[in-house]
């Protein structure tokens, strides 16, 4: 499975693209594949504060629903309206156009790098 090397990952299959104190957050291709066709994305409101590990949204597919966990402490500064309008973007381009939200992170938590995440998901 293709895992972009510049990203960092949580055990809940979220990815973070960290630039300074700002992180773009999405879910991995592995997670999108496991969910199946995503039909509904519920994201945290812009301006809301989230805490690492806390449920801050939902991703619903035809088969199942799964919670979206905040990967770090911080404030949500932007959400991807395109993926709300067209949740299929999560399946088409989970590491790109399917990004979910941007947040200002209070501190950078311990995260997996691409190699560690790959081995976490069976090394495929």
């Amino acid at each position: 499975m293709n895992v972009p090397a510049q990203l960092r990952f949580t055990a809940e299959h979220e990815w973070l693209d960290i630039e300074g104190d700002c992180a773009t957050v999405g879910i991995t291709a592995f997670a999108a594949e496991a969910l199946g066709d995503v039909v509904y994305v519920d994201l945290p409101a812009v301006g809301s504060s989230v805490a690492a590990g806390e449920a801050c949204g939902e991703i619903e597919s035809t088969k199942s629903v799964s919670e979206l966990y905040a990967p770090a402490d911080g404030d949500v500064v932007e959400v991807n309206q395109a993926v709300v309008d067209d949740p299929g973007l999560l399946n088409l381009d989970p590491f790109g156009k399917g990004w979910l939200f941007r947040m200002r992170v209070a501190n950078i938590p311990a995260l997996h790098d691409a190699a560690a995440y790959k081995s976490l998901t069976g090394g495929e």
């Binding site: 594949e33 199946g36 066709d37 039909v39 509904y40 519920d42 939902e58 619903e60 035809t62 088969k63 199942s64 629903v65 399946n91 069976g122």
Partner: protein, 372 residues
């Protein structure tokens, strides 16, 4: 869970699915293709053209003997002895207390030969129950699950596809009929049955012929829009068609009457049948809960296990058994058991969706009916 791992049984078509890039899921001990690319696309293909399913995990039990029909009348809730040769019937096998052990399709292949098709998860239960129940009859049960591969072609153009690769006059094969045929050189049983709410066929073949049959159907159908279809879309297709699934709508805890399938129970059979007293009592007393369809205008879908609520009091009056966003209808649909009295179409109810009450309305099943 690693459904591609060694502890899961593989169908004869496993390598074909893997080559197509399928995702696999563990299902009733089998590693089965859950989707090849997009389950919504596969679902829509079955509604508009056709889909090809691997159902080799299903269980096949053969009953033979002079009293095979009478033995099945005693073992099941229906009356298979009245089936004509070459015809099929949906039926159930119940416990003494009326609880459903499995739902089945029964085919009469010859005067003294029946094929009983069981859900993969229930094959052993059904086999053991049949063995026990036929003991007083001149009939024999054989678990033939390893002798049969099963593929399904489902969708409005499936007749056109199947007729291209078989010698049989497909137009003469009626709904819920079965006949011997040669398909792509393989001897098969071709049945006009399915679990999607569309016209379609189920092909029973030797396991070693499964790949040949699969390839021939793909070759004949791809140009017309046939796609390989996985278990994920099979579930949303049957849900739209209002068809119950064992383990969801059907279980040991309910009788056919709660499930709205009282029509399959022949209470007036001569000689009785296993579960008859309990089922007659349930029929006469009436049920306290019944299976209904629910629709929602919202985006979040009810899911199996979610509580059904009275919208004014918040009191729990039922539970969801299956739910999903309907790919055909574009809104969430669900089946649920609700208290009798709250089951009339048009009744407003609510679902507790992870802590938030979502309004739903009771509708008559099925949600979707094909324009046959």
């Amino acid at each position: 869970m690693n459904p591609s791992g060694h502890s899961w049984r593989r169908t004869p078509l496993h390598d074909v699915h893997a080559a197509l890039g399928a995702s696999f899921t563990g299902f009733a001990g089998w590693s089965m293709p859950v989707r090849y690319s997009s389950e919504i696309a596969e679902h829509k293909a079955v509604r508009s053209a056709a889909g090809l399913f691997d159902l080799c995990h299903m269980g096949e039990l053969e009953l033979t003997g002079r009293e095979a029909g009478a033995a099945l009348d005693f073992a099941l809730v229906g009356r298979p002895s009245k089936l004509g040769v070459g015809r099929a019937r949906y039926s159930m096998i119940c416990a003494e207390d009326g609880g459903i052990l499995d739902d089945l399709v029964v085919y009469r292949l010859a005067e003294e030969r029946f094929l009983v098709v069981a859900n993969a998860a229930n094959v052993l239960v059904v086999r053991d129950a049949l063995n026990e129940r036929v003991s007083g009859f001149d009939a024999e049960v054989r678990d033939a699950s390893d002798d049969w591969g099963l593929l399904a072609v489902q969708g409005p153009i499936s007749a056109a596809i199947v007729s291209e690769v078989t010698d049989l006059d497909v137009s003469a094969l009626r709904y819920y009929a079965i006949d011997e045929a040669v398909l792509a050189g393989a001897a098969v049983l071709l049945a006009r049955t399915g679990y999607t709410g569309e016209d379609g066929f189920e092909v029973y073949c030797r396991p070693e012929d499964a790949e040949t049959v699969w390839s021939a159907l793909i070759e004949a159908g791809t140009q017309r829009g046939l796609v390989p279809a996985g278990l994920a879309c099979r579930d949303t297709l049957r849900l739209e068609a209002g068809m119950p699934l064992y383990g969801q709508e059907l279980s040991r805890q309910v009788t056919p009457f709660e499930a709205g399938l009282g029509r399959v129970v022949a209470l007036d059979k001569d000689g009785g049948f296993v579960g008859d007293a309990a089922l007659a009592a349930r029929h006469n007393a009436g049920t306290r809960q019944t299976l209904v369809g629910l629709v929602s205008a919202g985006r979040r879908s009810p899911r199996a296990g979610y509580p059904v609520l009275d919208p004014s009091t918040g009191m729990r009056i039922g539970r969801v058994t299956s739910g999903a966003p309907s790919p055909t209808l574009g809104h969430p649909i669900a089946m649920a058991y609700v208290a009798v009295g709250r089951d009339e179409p048009g009744t407003r109810l609510a679902i507790d969706i992870r802590g938030a009450a979502e309004d739903v309305e009771v509708v008559a099943l099925p949600f979707y009916r094909c324009s046959r």
